[in-house]
Symmetry: C2
Subunit: 799 residues, 2 copies
């Protein structure tokens, strides 16, 4: 560091910023400990201290330090900065800083900017009826919770895409750095385009410890860290120490350098200079855990050790010696240099804070609904498959969807507010029409023979479901739109991220000041029934079970049976907000059932009788209801009706198709749920129902167990039987095929004649014949015969 | 590379190894394409070619290359090597090599070592009734499937722990390297002890492409890769090229160097030289995707590009020009230099293969049940909590479990076949007694003030659920035992890994030759009801919903209500094999119900009537059944009975407690399921059942919907309501508290007198009183009063 560099901060400014930092630290400690006496105007007494001490001190002073220094940069450069607080447990720091800058009191007027406000601020923290101990939806300036660790950097990149004027300062704890998703996130720089995207400034905060252990990176030396991050393509800067004033000077200088680097990278790229992947700056900040807190308590090391992780001084209410230590600690921040007699931040410190929406707690980037612009959507009917009669066309559902998505990309090209994410499966899922309009985002070298790779491409492909999910979360939480296409089985990789996002949305919806953000849309293809070629490890329809555990307000599950219903469903989902929409649809050539007009009506209802498919056209109550949800179950149901029509012509069959799974739930439990009267009108009150379902059968029972006719509902679905086999054999293995379904009908409809039992025998014979074709391992394999229409057996590349 | 180095392989040996490699490549192509004419004795005709072409060629020649070279090293050094095939899609390679070395035919005698065997080998691949296209349980020598990518390296480390004589050669594709779990796995070297553990040799196979995209690492230059892996603490070696003979020489030399490095690291460490974290070798192998395959097809680049990923020449059955190309390609391997006229591998090539169990397809490390030694378990009653009467003691359940686990560690110290994994939560989950016996494994620098860190420690703590899960999978699949303790909410992070492991076990159980491996045991603590302090993001009981989707043979879920039942459950689970056991138990001080004798009886049954808790001691049928599963629901149920006993004394209540959740399922669906008669005897055929459940309520409905009395079962559980509040408020928010339960009873039992409605009003008043204590955000916060016995409100560090 040269003298010139050090000039980033005058001595006077260093002292000022230190005072601001002390104020933030004081307010952080106060939140953890105090019920009352917020400015220590009286000696600290037991009754001033919370009976239950909660919160995470260890990471907080470092978070406050970074926040204070970013404030300076923002004021000087008028930059928009979004602060991602990876160590979300450092909630007290985010709350303290947003209070200091005034946003907290603006959003929550009861928490004023004076002594009474401070008292309430302290009291509410991690308190019944109060606020969580993490950065949470309730926290101004946050799009990131951080209770479950791993997603800070991927959220940061998601926020930076297509926000060219934004710098996302992303603090990553060294605990979080050990997680898989975070470890993969460093590669975000291979996708970030300096022309159209903003910048991410990762700040790896090494305070050395997790809850009860040192961290791996905390114990790595600077040489190793430098190698590692240079290997990842960054330019690392180190800020290390414990003594506040020198640390302020180094941090200010370093931030200036980093922001200069960012500016020069962007200027060069935007001026059209050939860049390749820029070497973006990254800061490694080594500071003691629990910095400025007690060095020792009861003779045990605290500052700079894991004992500082949460509450460094325990039992401060009960233990007088501890209380004295706490009071010394808090008074050590020198309150008279921070607040006036009324508890207001002193004017010279308030002057350190940016103004208006430039404040990190107030930035609209952290309340993305404020920036949301409706997506332009074409008329989906333009992409509809022509269906002259039910079953009269064969099409790949997702291929039409790809054409529709290409048009969405085209219409919103200028707005740059729509992206498609996928783990290298966009082609495989047959959405390749999007490449007529855009490219895959790519900042690594590009070879002449490469296919649709370019900086600024709007399709993001990386072999990590975690990155796809996290990027799209960051992208939608900052107000933009998108779709994540994924193999159905492997979307379980992000179960936990889905959980956290659903929880975030649930709480956000309860906060008036949070504007609605675009929905998170999943398109799950390459689903369980058509992973016959990849085998058992690729066969799992359980994500929707996981999804429906979440709050009804937030989640939607759709199972469109063909191309036109898929188009209508995607179009609908892209117009919604504050939700998580899950669409499951096949990509293989399959029969088409509904015209676009029929699809419109059917999808609007979400469920309905397919009169053309059944045999009860006279309007009387049927003998049996055959229900289906999902493309393959729908096909098998219709084939089963066909068999029954031939073999047991007297049978009156009603076919009910379900697109919107939530219609099955009670109306009181889900806004899309049918009333009991409507449900009974479809499923009857007493007739057998044979339900062919895409997923695990018990999900249907779970959704319908309160319905009148539930005891008559007999569900076939995936029962965890699968291997590498034919598509038809997949349904046979799980008793979901046309013959099993037809036999189920015959078994459950009372009073059928002898023709029915003959038919049953004929179906059983068909199944035996089928089994003969699928021989056991090691024996001779026969040819596959072509009686499994309409399943295609030709493999296509890229599955 | 110097001349001396090159001498690892004579010219003659290079040619021999090349011929062996060609044989493996030929057999790989044959599996993808051929139905018949396996040795091309006739010109290739359409009918010789499979009608559906499946399989992944791109990665396979590289996998074969590595396999062939490892064979040489094994023969020369008599080392045990386990081959982890990260690109599991390269199944044809693993199958080809294990056939060449003879293990395939030994395990599957129908697939002989001659022409007919080759024909069957080809035919069965990715064929109905045949074998999957990935390395799978069916594949000899594999403990790793690799359909879902990300877990190769973490499995490798898990296999290497406590196997000091083993080298795990772990091939990592550059696609897989983009995943989060893989990215975090590089840090395994911070935990691997050269004294007691074996070695992991990562082989990063850069063939440059995924399905339809280049890979990030494939486009990084050697300088960046070297920096990256040196940063991670490895010593990288590069093997790069396309020309086979020079590549054989470099690979041989490099492998010799790596094995030399491994030997010298281990010798030094085992001789007691102070080591620190060794710099283990790592190989970066750059070879073309689809190496030795067609360079172009239809004028489009194939070799060295993503078009080689799966089937490089499509429609070879239908398209004659393609068929000619295929035949040229296959004949290019020069069959007469590989096989004799009968299709047997030529003797000079067979001589290149190791013998007996040294063959990688035959190594017992890949069939871990063969190495399984029963875990020594102490008498768990020794650790039992003294319970003078139900509710007569307060204890932390997991603390006793920790004492039991410490003794397990002690008893098996010499065998070194038991480990405890956890994401930095072993203390937090109150299992800290284990540190009386062992340490945390740690190879990074250790400071004097550190707490129980040491190389060779038997507790593995890293802030990554993925690593904990993957290490324990690798550890148990190689025949050793363990337990993974985790926060309940965050175990969803490994949902997908659980899935894949459950699928692996399901298929393995069907294979006679696979010996049973120890079960995978989860202990989920810090559960939903006691995350009142950490808030909503930490509250999720849905993992068990996910688990019960898997095959009944494989999964078990236990909800022990107190310390003694937890002890008995853990002890039982540690004695099982081929299963996944999930135990959910609290860590907070809580009332104890059963003596160790009672716990033994109760857990053996898995479910039972707690006569002492109910009011129907006269043996008659009760008015109502109050069922409970989980520690907090059990407490609330008992408190509710207490209230009802006081307020509605005439009510006959039966209390049923469920430890083993699987007892609720029909007997036909799960081996632990009660018969309907037994279920009816417990739950009655017609009385109301108020079921207080630990998880989402619909799981109970799902498990019981076929039972006689299902329509009377009314379940309370977590309905996704939570925040930072008191423990008691958590149950109130979800209607699971004593007052709601008591009101439920009154509402559902017909014919109650006026005292009951008075009681209901009293309970409602209590809830209103409670709500007054938990005020809404921003308003004044009251003190917490101490009327929510016996929930403790004192926070302890480390939660």
């Amino acid at each position: 560091m040269t003298d010139t560099d050090a000039a980033a901060l005058s001595d006077q400014d260093a002292v000022l910023i230190d005072r601001y930092w002390r104020a933030a630290n004081y307010l952080s400690v106060g939140q953890i400990y105090l019920l009352d006496n917020p400015l220590l105007k009286e000696p600290l007494a037991a009754e001033h201290i919370k009976p239950r001490l909660l919160g995470h001190w260890g990471t907080t002073p470092g978070l406050n330090f970074i926040y204070a220094h970013l404030n300076r940069v923002i004021r000087q450069r008028a930059t928009d900065v979004l602060y991602i607080c990876g160590p979300g447990h450092g909630g007290p720091g985010m709350v303290a800083n947003t209070w200091l800058e005034g946003t907290y009191s603006e959003i929550y007027p009861l928490i004023g900017d004076d002594e009474d406000g401070i008292r309430r601020l302290f009291r509410q923290f991690s308190f019944p009826g109060g606020i969580p101990s993490h950065a949470a939806p309730e926290t101004p300036g946050s799009i990131h919770e951080g209770g479950e660790l791993g997603y800070a950097l991927v959220h940061a990149y998601g926020a930076a895409f297509d926000n060219p004027d934004l710098v996302v300062a992303c603090v990553i704890g060294d605990g979080e750095a050990e997680t898989g998703p975070l470890a993969a996130s460093w590669h975000g720089n291979s996708f970030l385009d300096p022309v159209h995207d903003g910048a991410v400034l990762p700040i790896l905060h090494l305070n050395g410890y997790k809850i009860a252990n040192p961290t791996i990176m905390g114990r790595m030396d600077d040489t190793a860290l430098r190698q590692l991050f240079e290997g990842f393509g960054y330019e690392p800067f180190f800020v290390e120490g414990r003594d506040p004033l020198p640390m302020h000077r180094v941090m200010a200088t370093t931030l200036d350098r980093c922001f200069d680097r960012i500016a020069s990278i962007q200027q060069a790229a935007r001026a059209g200079e050939p860049a390749g992947k820029p070497r973006w700056p990254l800061i490694v900040l080594r500071s003691p855990k629990g910095w400025t807190g007690p060095r020792e308590v009861d003779g045990k090391k605290v500052e700079g050790f894991w004992r500082a992780h949460q509450v460094p001084i325990a039992e401060a209410r009960e233990n007088e010696a501890h209380r004295v230590l706490l009071e010394e600690w808090m008074r050590g921040y020198k309150l008279d240099e921070l607040f006036d007699i009324d508890g207001r931040l002193l004017p010279e410190l308030r002057a350190l804070v940016p103004r208006g929406d430039k404040r990190m707690g107030a930035t609209p980037y952290a309340n993305g609904g404020r920036l949301r612009r409706a997506l332009k959507r074409p008329d989906w009917h333009r992409f509809a498959v022509d269906v002259p009669c039910p079953g009269g066309a064969i099409a790949e559902s997702t291929r039409s969807a790809g054409e529709y998505l290409a048009e969405v990309l085209r219409l919103n090209e200028e707005a740059r507010n729509f992206r498609v994410m996928g783990p290298d499966e966009t082609n495989s899922n047959r959405l390749n029409a999007v490449f007529d309009v855009t490219n895959r985002a790519w900042m690594e070298p590009i070879e002449p023979y490469d296919d649709h790779l370019a900086p600024g491409g709007r399709v993001m492909e990386v072999l990590s479901e975690h990155l796809c999910q996290g990027w799209l979360e960051g992208y939608t939480l900052t107000g933009r739109h998108g779709l994540f296409n994924c193999y159905e089985a492997f979307v379980h990789i992000v179960d936990s991220m889905f959980n956290q996002h659903a929880k975030w949305l649930k709480v956000s919806r309860e906060l008036d000041w949070r504007a609605a953000v675009p929905s998170f849309n999943y398109l799950l293809s390459s689903h369980v029934w058509r992973q016959d070629h990849n085998g058992f490890s690729h066969q799992d329809p359980g994500f929707i079970d996981h999804v429906v555990n979440k709050k009804a307000d937030v989640v939607r599950v759709y199972l469109p049976p063909d191309a036109n219903t898929l188009l209508r469903t995607i179009d609908h989902c892209l117009g919604t907000h504050n939700r998580i929409n899950v669409i499951v649809a096949g990509k293989q050539p399959a029969p088409q059932w509904l015209t676009s007009q029929q699809a419109e009506i059917h999808c609007a209802a979400g469920i309905g009788i397919w009169e053309w498919a059944g045999t009860d056209s006279d309007g009387a109550e049927p003998d049996v209801v055959m229900a289906c949800a999902g493309d393959v179950p729908t096909l098998e149901t219709i084939a089963a009706v066909d068999l029954l029509r031939q073999h047991v012509p007297e049978l009156k069959i009603r076919v009910v198709n379900v697109v919107d799974l939530m219609t099955l739930q009670p109306h009181e439990e889900h806004p899309h749920g049918l009333t009991d009267a409507d449900f009974d009108a479809l499923f009857t009150r007493s007739k057998p129902v044979i339900f062919a379902f895409h997923g695990y059968p018990w999900l249907i029972h779970r959704l319908t167990y309160r319905r009148t006719n539930h005891h008559n509902i007999h569900v076939r679905g995936f029962k965890e039987e699968g291997t590498t086999t034919t598509p038809f054999d997949m349904v046979v293995m799980n008793d979901l095929d046309r013959f099993h379904l037809a036999m189920d009908v015959i078994a459950r409809v009372p009073g059928l004649t002898g023709t029915a039992s003959h038919a049953k025998q004929a179906f059983r014979d068909k199944l035996i014949e089928h089994k003969l074709y699928v021989c056991r391992k090691g024996q001779d394999m026969p040819e596959i015969r072509d009686w499994t229409w309409p399943y295609q057996t030709a493999a296509e590349a890229g599955d």
